[in-house]
């Protein structure tokens, strides 16, 4: 096997040196009855040529990856500067592990320190951790953290939080004695409704809101923060489209207590849903309640600045069942990718990409709203996603658009909301050219006009 340095001959010699006769002797401590007496029924070894041909053939059966696309809903198609993949392909980064030994891990440590800083700057918060698995699990961890801080047990989720994020929260809290309450969104605006106020009480640990929300609507986070704080609760803000942070008021400035985000938009390929990276930030005063790893500044005896993993007493390897989270391996390399992305785009790039998204979305939504039979059901301002109501079933319409026009037109909302058969969610980013947007609009118009087949 070409990944194993020692040849069979060398291994035989090593066995001999340690006084064994055969490889089987290495496993003498495994009771014989537990030993597998046959070969595993997994494939024969493939050469690189064969293996790549096999994966290429499988990848060819993913036509979704080759279309102009308006799919968003928690995973976004953004431009990734070429440098990102180069940097994360440096052996020194991708074949290192968690920087337990700072003297020979300063590369990873300084990167994480920069990542933490960037997350704080973008979210408007004081402290950020070294990453969570993704946005959805980060939200679940935020719920648990809110409970720890407030010692209250009810959490209210605003209606338009990503349905999969809510499912994950539900799973996480099911045995934690936390009641997860879900208030409906306003059907006209698409934002959090007045029902929230009714649900809020002195058992409420936190309000969870996503902004821009699942329908692309920008929530009034400032008002929600005020409401939450008035009730002695925390405001947890989730962001699935992190590019919005380049343009929208930061959750921190709006008064959030914990901010989580999916960092995929920051230079990470779609890759069928992962690996992505969860961003997690909070206020200074809650720093010791934060889950996951933290990197901090430290000095050696000569006064040289370096970085170390710190506040480890929050973590499972020290605190075991009393830890703030069970997380150990996180998303280091993806956090690196996000860091490279953010530094390459820089202040001006992050602003421009966000403005382009907003402008292109405005253009697309205006054109779609004017289409005969189509409407845009929600009135709230939006960033780069919006719901569209078609005159026909959206699922069928979109699948014809894919088949006949080679466009992924968006997400049929019936996937999560069966009561919305004609609605679909359109996402427009800087990667969608005007020609693509026009093709989407014209394609939908043509298909809707000649009705269901």
């Amino acid at each position: 096997m070409r990944y194993i340095p020692n040849s069979p001959e060398e291994r035989a010699e090593m066995l001999h040196q340690i006084g064994l006769d055969s490889a089987a002797d290495l496993f003498a401590s495994i009771p014989d009855e537990l030993r597998l007496k046959r070969d595993l029924n997994t494939p024969d070894a493939l050469s690189e040529i064969e293996l790549l041909a096999g994966f290429d053939a499988m990848s060819a059966r993913n036509p979704g990856a080759r279309r102009a696309t308006f799919l968003g809903a928690g995973a976004y198609s953004h431009y990734i500067p070429t440098v990102v993949d180069h940097v994360i392909s440096r052996s020194e980064f991708f074949t290192a592990y968690t920087p337990y030994q700072p003297e020979i891990s300063q590369g990873t440590l300084q990167v994480i320190f920069e990542f933490q800083t960037l997350v704080c700057q973008l979210t408007g918060m004081d402290v950020a951790n070294a990453s969570m698995y993704d946005g959805s699990t980060a939200l679940a961890e935020a719920v648990l953290m809110a409970e720890r801080i407030t010692k209250r047990s009810k959490v209210i989720a605003c209606g338009a939080v990503h349905p999969e994020y809510l499912e994950v929260c539900k799973t996480y809290v099911q045995h934690a004695g936390i009641e997860l309450q879900h208030v409906d969104f306003d059907q006209a605006t698409g934002q959090t409704s007045g029902a929230l106020a009714d649900a809020l009480d002195d058992k409420t640990a936190a309000i969870l809101v996503q902004s821009p929300n699942f329908f692309g609507c920008i929530e009034d986070v400032t008002r929600l923060a005020e409401q939450a704080h008035a009730a002695g609760a925390l405001l947890v803000v989730a962001v699935t489209e992190a590019i919005s942070l380049g343009l929208l008021k930061s959750p921190g400035a709006a008064g959030a207590d914990i901010v989580v985000a999916e960092g995929q938009s920051f230079g990470v390929p779609l890759s069928f849903g992962g690996p992505y990276v969860g961003l997690f930030a909070t206020r200074e005063k809650y720093a010791r309640q934060i889950p996951g790893r933290l990197v901090g500044e430290a000095y050696d005896k000569n006064g040289n600045r370096g970085f170390v993993l710190t506040l480890a007493t929050r973590e499972q390897h020290i605190r075991r069942e009393k830890a703030t989270s069970n997380i150990c391996t996180n998303e280091g390399l993806i956090a690196l990718a996000a860091t490279v992305y953010l530094e390459t785009m820089g202040k001006r790039g992050l602003q421009e990409v966000a403005v382009q998204c907003a402008q292109k979305t405005a253009y697309a939504s205006k054109r779609l709203a004017k289409l005969k039979g189509f409407s845009v059901p929600f009135t709230a301002p939006r960033f780069n996603e919006f719901a569209v109501r078609a005159p026909v079933g959206a699922r069928e319409l979109l699948s014809r658009l894919a088949a006949e026009k080679n466009i992924n037109g968006g997400l049929a909302l019936s996937r999560y909301f069966p009561e919305r058969p004609n609605d679909f969610l359109v996402c427009v980013t800087e990667t969608n050219s005007r020609a693509e947007i026009d093709a989407l609009v014209d394609g939908l118009a043509a298909l809707a006009a000649n009705g269901s087949r």
Partner: protein, 512 residues
Amino acid sequence: MTSAMNPKITKVTSHISHNEALIFERSQPGRIGYKLPPLDVDESPLDQIIPLEFRRDDDLEGVPEVSEVDVIRHFTRMSTWNYSIDLGMYPLGSCTMKYNSRLNEKVARIPGFAALHPLSEERDAQGALQVIYELQNHLAEITGLAGVSLQPAAGAHGEMTGVMIIRAFIDARDGAGASAKRRTMLIPDSAHGTNPASAHLSGFSVKTIRSTAEGFTDLDHLRELCAHGDVAGLMLTNPNTLGLFEKNIKEICQIVHEAGGLVYMDGANMNALVGIARPGDMGVDVIHLNLHKTFSTPHGGGGPGCGPCCCTKELEPFLPVPRIVKNGQEYKLDFNHPQSIGRVKAFFGNYGMMLRALSYIQTHGHDGIREATEAAVLNSRYIAHGLASDYDKPFAAPSMHEVVFTDKRQSRKGVHTLDIAKRLMDYGFHPMTIYFPLIVQGAMLIEPTESVGHQELDQFIEAMKAIAREALEDPELVLNAPHSTRIGRLDEAAAARRPVLRWKPKQAATAG
């Protein structure tokens, strides 16, 4: 003074290493590192799109402004400060730092996978679903456990999933709420910290099982703890974190099962077993694997991982949804599992790691994965043999893929595990895992993996022996190590006392 002049140090020499400030310190107003195509749609006034009150007004203060060249030099320089598998042996016990193949990286970047949206329709993603399906099957075969979910993002996430499955199963078996009474999760004192943390997250209370002096689960203690009727399950690592195969695993499983509990196996150490023995054949009910250990997906400086959860047919209904199934020739997402614990992550998990793991399995073949296991255990045993005369080896049983030593002999001269670890850096090695498992005082857990040739093993053994001599003859040398790294030991206590967790612009700098 340079290590080059120390004839014992053969692996490294000292050389210039580039300094690099924080990017925020490199930033200069007006520098640009990106370019977008010009906006090609009719522009609307921004206020019409998004009212001012919803927009940021801080001009993204502090976000750096640098050129692409700055970015490349910044990260290239920083990268050179890291030790990495590609530079040499990385014997971090419990972490299985094996070779991360370039082929796997290439596979993960094939555009037909990398550009695929997770909410694509099934028919638009048949190839991607096939990858998941095939990997599930291979992992089922490797573990001997039929039900597989690839959704968990790492080992701890897989633990949480598995433990929740146990809980859901008990409720289903014994009636809703039954698990509220069976609240005890048994965990050996040698277990990894994630085990109790995951059990806690799932609402269990943890009871600790003692290990015997020989390093195995104490069966008597286990029996005793199982006698109260409140045991939901046992979380056992096998080979355990001391690198020893729990030879009584069958009996252990029996005891727990008889007490009405289930057995969770932490599969982090599967690199000792793949192709040799299968947890499913031992009586284990549910397990997680670390694809980022056993199946070589890169550790990436701390992730991403992938922590598949594998379980018996009986537990399969409780696995997270969606499950990926094959229906005739078609791959499908199956949400219809009412007993499922639910979703543990948006979408399908860390898909990119699944591509790599499948590539690993296909590259090795059934004989190659067994060969890897044999080579990994052999390397560990070779080290165990090589160091036995210089270091205290607390357990006599033969080690599997990793071996634990202690600082007992060296500590008589005041040299402790931490010092030995730091001194190893001067010899050019990444240290082993230290002070874990917690039950071994001054533990040094060494896992060479199969990815090291015998010359480098010999260099490692020589280095360790040299340090043992230094501890005797010149303990100060060891106590003040490392001597040859770009930075010395950092004051971690001070860092934790007044944590500085982010860069901030210097107030003075703007004024001056």
